[in-house]
């Protein structure tokens, strides 16, 4: 049961990499703050001295939000553009850091910013190219899923459809297949990243071929590992929403809900790290076998 062993090693490694974990969380927080602060400014200038904002403390206040959108909408496009820019930057930053994360995990060393930084910058351009390729592949996958959905539902023109239930039945068929393919593509992408670090080749073709070879020979082990990762992630999501719904909306729960949300972000980052580390461990085990 190598996949399960690798998965357990992933969790073990997580707690040995608390600094990296915290660093990633801080980065996420600071990037988000760049957009959240102008939103705070907008609310401050529009409503800080209005009683209406406090009336909305205990509920989802659509009237207040619609007044903000309708009467103070000049700032909204600026904030939206800023959000898009920050997300793009965060994507690049994540590509940069993923090199460091996998490098540290691959070396099996104790976390150090030296190794982390070295891995990040050394593999950045290769990871960037790889990410672009895989963004294209993911886009094609989404397009393919959409096309299949259209075929299975008998077309999306409502006037051509026999019944709206075909939208649901097509979704029930296409969604699981898409999810499975998405996981497989993600699996391949991650293992190529590991192979890049292992082989340290400048060109991507060799690591890609090598990784595909490894995957082909151990496909079900890797798939099992990734399914395990996904199932645990779904469990975390479900648990989070369950807990979140226990808190009523009130002035007393603003801070607890925020803390809960931050804990969940920490969990999401943890799951990402566990995923990387477990993939590295299984990859190493399989390469050794070969």
């Amino acid at each position: 049961m190598q996949p399960i062993k690798a998965y357990c090693l992933g969790w073990k490694a997580l707690f040995k990499s608390k600094i990296m974990w915290l660093f990633l969380f801080t980065a996420n927080f600071l990037f988000a703050l760049i957009v959240a602060l102008p939103i705070k400014t907008l609310f401050n200038s529009a409503a800080a001295n209005s009683l209406s904002i406090n009336e909305s403390l205990n509920r989802f206040d659509f009237t207040f939000l619609s007044d903000i959108l309708n009467q103070y909408n000049m700032s909204i496009p600026i904030i939206s553009n800023q959000l898009i820019m920050v997300i793009a930057l965060y994507l690049l930053f994540s590509i940069l850091l993923s090199g460091g994360i996998i490098y540290v995990f691959y070396l099996n060393d104790k976390f150090s910013f030296g190794n982390f930084g070295k891995g990040s910058f050394k593999f950045f351009w290769r990871y960037l190219r790889l990410s672009i390729y895989f963004l294209v592949i993911q886009s094609l996958l989404i397009y393919g899923a959409y096309k299949c959905y259209v075929i299975f539902s008998g077309g999306l023109n409502p006037f051509e459809m026999e019944s709206d239930s075909s939208l649901i039945s097509a979704f029930k068929i296409v969604a699981p297949i898409y999810m499975l393919l998405f996981i497989i593509v993600k699996l391949i992408q991650d293992l190529i990243k590991i192979e890049i670090i292992k082989s340290d080749e400048t060109l991507l073709i060799k690591p890609i071929m090598s990784a595909l070879n490894t995957i082909a020979k151990n496909f079900f082990s890797f798939l099992l590992l990734y399914l395990l990762n996904v199932i645990v992630a779904i469990g975390f999501f479900a648990f989070y929403f369950l807990i979140k719904n226990l808190f009523p909306i009130s002035s007393q729960t603003v801070l607890p809900l925020f803390i809960l949300s931050q804990l969940f972000i920490l969990c999401r980052i943890a799951l990402k790290l566990v995923n990387y580390k477990s993939a590295v461990e299984l990859f190493k085990a399989k390469v050794e076998e070969l």
């Binding site: 996420n28 927080f29 988000a32 957009v35 959240a36 939103i39 705070k40 609310f43 401050n44 409503a47 800080a48 001295n49 209005s50 009683l51 209406s52 904002i53 406090n54 909305s56 403390l57 509920r59 989802f60 206040d61 659509f62 009237t63 207040f64 619609s66 007044d67 903000i68 959108l69 309708n70 009467q71 959000l83 920050v86 965060y90 994507l91 994540s94 590509i95 895989f134 963004l135 023109n157 409502p158 006037f159 051509e160 459809m161 026999e162 019944s163 709206d164 939208l167 649901i168 719904n245 909306i249 002035s251 603003v254 801070l255 809900l257 925020f258 949300s261 931050q262 972000i265 999401r268």
Partner: protein, 665 residues
């Protein structure tokens, strides 16, 4: 010919005998006996109509005018199509084998004296002179109808059913047959809706605004293949099967129109509210909505009965069309309404409830109180939207009656307000404008949303008791008649003066001049709160020799300080409404002030030992039409908790979004 007249007479006597059984609610001006056969292969209707029309005026009427609605879809040159524009998605492409266009034509017509009238017909275009438009047919009578007299005409007609046109037509084997038969217009006697002279109100079919009909009795026999299930206005009085066809006979009294629908796939579910049978027609994928519809309609029936007047009909059909029949969703016809839903809609998305309530309320506003939707759409759609909010907010909560899903809660009234102020055209026209004259947008937001908002505002100003009396009085006076806008205003003026005497002036015309006949915007704001400490008088006070200095016992050090405080209120919009202002002091004391709202600004000043900490205009949100509730209040201390809530939520949301996107790489 005589034989045919005997037949007509026989049916007419039958009709009259049926009528005698039921209490007559309306003047029954236009009474129809229609036999129609639907050929589902050719999509043709073959009809035979006996129309008995009573002249409601002291005029001698020399012609009849008919709506020929299906000619709106005859070609691209009709007024309807020119106004709406050719919509690609709905019309398909040139390679379609079936021509999607439709038409209706009268083949023969004879009056009770045996006069053939088919050569006395011509299409007229009373609204725009578009000679290509054939939606109004004028028939010159050989024997004019005397004052308060009547005429009976018998005519055969045929129509091709349109494929997927707005509101009506067929798609696959689903048929939604509304505005489907040659229908006589409304002859308005002098004085009706302010008319100076009697005459026909029979407008061309326009893109916006559908209804204006005359009250009457309908007996409709529909023949079609026997595997079809038919739902229609009124009661099913007879059903007969012959070979592979079936005839369904429906009867309904005191209505202004007749609609029906047919499909082999309909599943019919039934419920009852007092004497009214509620029937729900839908396709198998949507039968699970029945409980939602029945609950909603029963709530609406009870609410309207209590607050406006009873629903007098014995049936109400709710049609939830299949997805390929979505073009026919959300429509209203007498005792027959359609909604829209999708089988996967969660309970918290209350689209079925909203549409069912809205379309049901139309039974009152445009049906029983038969207003002219083309000329005065606010009396139809606006009043209906107002009642839709009242009913849904009452039963499903004012903050959750439209959406209550995944923590998102939206009430109907607040959604309506968002729709209005979210429309870039919300000030483009006055609310009294004719439907066909909203040439540059704003029809929906002004006719529907704005009217509902100013009706809410009127309720806020005059109070709930007075408003209830207005609605009851309006309904009782105008049910089964044709009121115009001024008739409603008259009822408001009478009732308000009864409840409030001259509190709001001689009448409420000043209100309607702004909200209905004007385009003014309402926006009041608390501009500032000032608390100035009162200091002893110092300086050269009595003469120029003794300069009085600040006493040693500086009042600033005293335990009790005195303040001169003021609240400045401004009118930012041009609309002038009486407003209430609530002023709160630091010791918890509240003072309620009133202001006429006429001037651009005013202030309320106080002297005392407590500072003003906040002030709020219209604390009970009675002035629904105020465009910005946020600036209606002001607090001297920033409301940090509220800011914190939205800031932290936004921060978490952005964090999660970034992490989700990063997962892709």
């Amino acid at each position: 010919m005589k034989f045919r007249l005997y037949i007509i007479f026989y049916f007419y006597v039958l009709l009259l005998s049926y009528q005698a059984k039921a209490e007559q609610l309306s003047a029954r001006i236009a009474n129809y006996d229609i036999n129609v056969r639907l050929d589902v292969e050719s999509k043709m209707l073959y009809g035979h109509t006996v129309l008995n029309w009573n002249n409601p005026s002291a005029d001698v009427v020399e012609d009849l005018q008919f709506h020929m609605y299906y000619n709106a879809f005859k070609n691209s040159e009709s007024t309807f199509m020119k106004e709406r524009g050719i919509f690609d998605g709905i019309l398909g492409n040139a390679n379609d084998n079936d021509c999607r266009w439709s038409y209706t034509t009268i083949i023969s017509m004879e009056d009770e004296y045996g006069n053939q009238l088919v050569n006395n017909m011509k299409y007229i275009q009373p609204d725009d002179g578009n000679i290509d438009d054939q939606t109004v047919l004028q028939v010159q009578l050989a024997n004019p109808v005397e004052a308060f007299g009547s005429v009976t005409v018998e005519f055969t007609w045929e129509a091709k059913v349109p494929n997927i046109m707005p509101r009506t037509g067929y798609n696959k084997d689903y048929y939604f047959m509304v505005q489907w038969f040659p229908k006589v217009g409304v002859y308005e006697a002098e004085g009706t809706r302010g008319r100076e002279r009697g005459g026909w109100s029979c407008h061309q079919y326009h893109s916006s605004g559908e209804y204006y009909g005359e009250f009457g009795v309908y007996q409709v026999a529909i023949t079609l293949p026997s595997n079809y299930v038919v739902g229609a206005s009124g009661e099913l009085v007879h059903q007969a099967k012959e070979a592979d066809e079936q005839t369904w006979v429906f009867h309904v009294d005191d209505v202004i129109d007749f609609g029906w629908t047919a499909s082999p796939h309909f599943i019919v579910q039934e419920d009852q509210y007092k004497d009214t049978k509620i029937k729900y027609y839908t396709y198998p994928s949507k039968t699970h909505f029945s409980e939602r519809y029945f609950r909603t309609i029963k709530n609406a029936l009870a609410y309207m009965e209590e607050h406006v007047g009873p629903y007098p009909y014995s049936t109400l059909c709710i049609i939830d069309p299949p997805i390929h029949g979505i073009f026919s969703g959300a429509m209203e016809y007498p005792t027959f309404v359609s909604t829209t839903s999708f089988c996967f809609l969660p309970t918290g998305i209350k689209m079925p409830e909203t549409l069912a309530t809205h379309e049901f309320v139309h039974q009152y506003f445009m049906q029983m109180i038969s207003t002219h939707e083309q000329d005065e759409p606010w009396m139809d759609e606006g009043m209906t939207t107002y009642w839709e909010s009242r009913i849904l907010d009452h039963f499903d909560g004012e903050n959750s009656s439209t959406i209550d899903w995944l923590g998102i809660k939206v009430g109907n009234k607040e959604f309506n307000r968002w729709e209005y102020f979210g429309d870039k055209n919300y000030k483009i026209a006055e609310g009294s404008r004719k439907a066909r004259e909203f040439n540059h947008g704003g029809y929906g937001s002004i006719a529907y949303n704005k009217t509902a908002m100013w009706l809410n505002t009127l309720e806020g100003i005059v109070g709930q008791d007075c408003m209830s009396a207005i609605w009851k009085s309006y309904f009782n006076r105008w049910k089964f008649k044709h009121p115009g806008g001024q008739d409603f205003i008259d009822v408001v003026n009478e009732t308000v003066s009864k409840y409030h005497q001259k509190k709001f002036g001689e009448n409420m015309n000043w209100f309607f001049a702004q909200v209905l006949y004007g385009t003014e915007e309402c926006d009041y704001t608390i501009d500032e709160i000032d608390n100035n400490e009162i200091l002893p008088k110092i300086g050269y006070l009595n003469n120029t020799e003794d300069c009085i200095a600040m006493p040693d016992e500086n009042p600033n050090n005293a335990e009790t300080k005195t303040y001169r405080s003021k609240v400045v209120v401004k009118r930012l919009g041009d609309m002038q409404l009486p407003i209430e202002v609530q002023i709160n002091f630091e010791d918890g004391k509240q003072i309620n002030e009133s202001w006429s709202g006429f001037e651009r600004s005013t202030e309320f000043s106080y002297t005392g030992t407590n500072k003003i900490i906040s002030a709020e205009i219209d604390p009970e949100h009675k002035i629904d039409i105020d465009k910005n509730f946020i600036n209606n209040s002001y607090t001297t201390a920033p409301q940090t908790k509220g800011i914190q809530k939205y800031f932290l939520r936004a921060l978490s949301f952005i964090q999660h979004t970034m992490e989700t996107v990063a997962f892709l790489i």
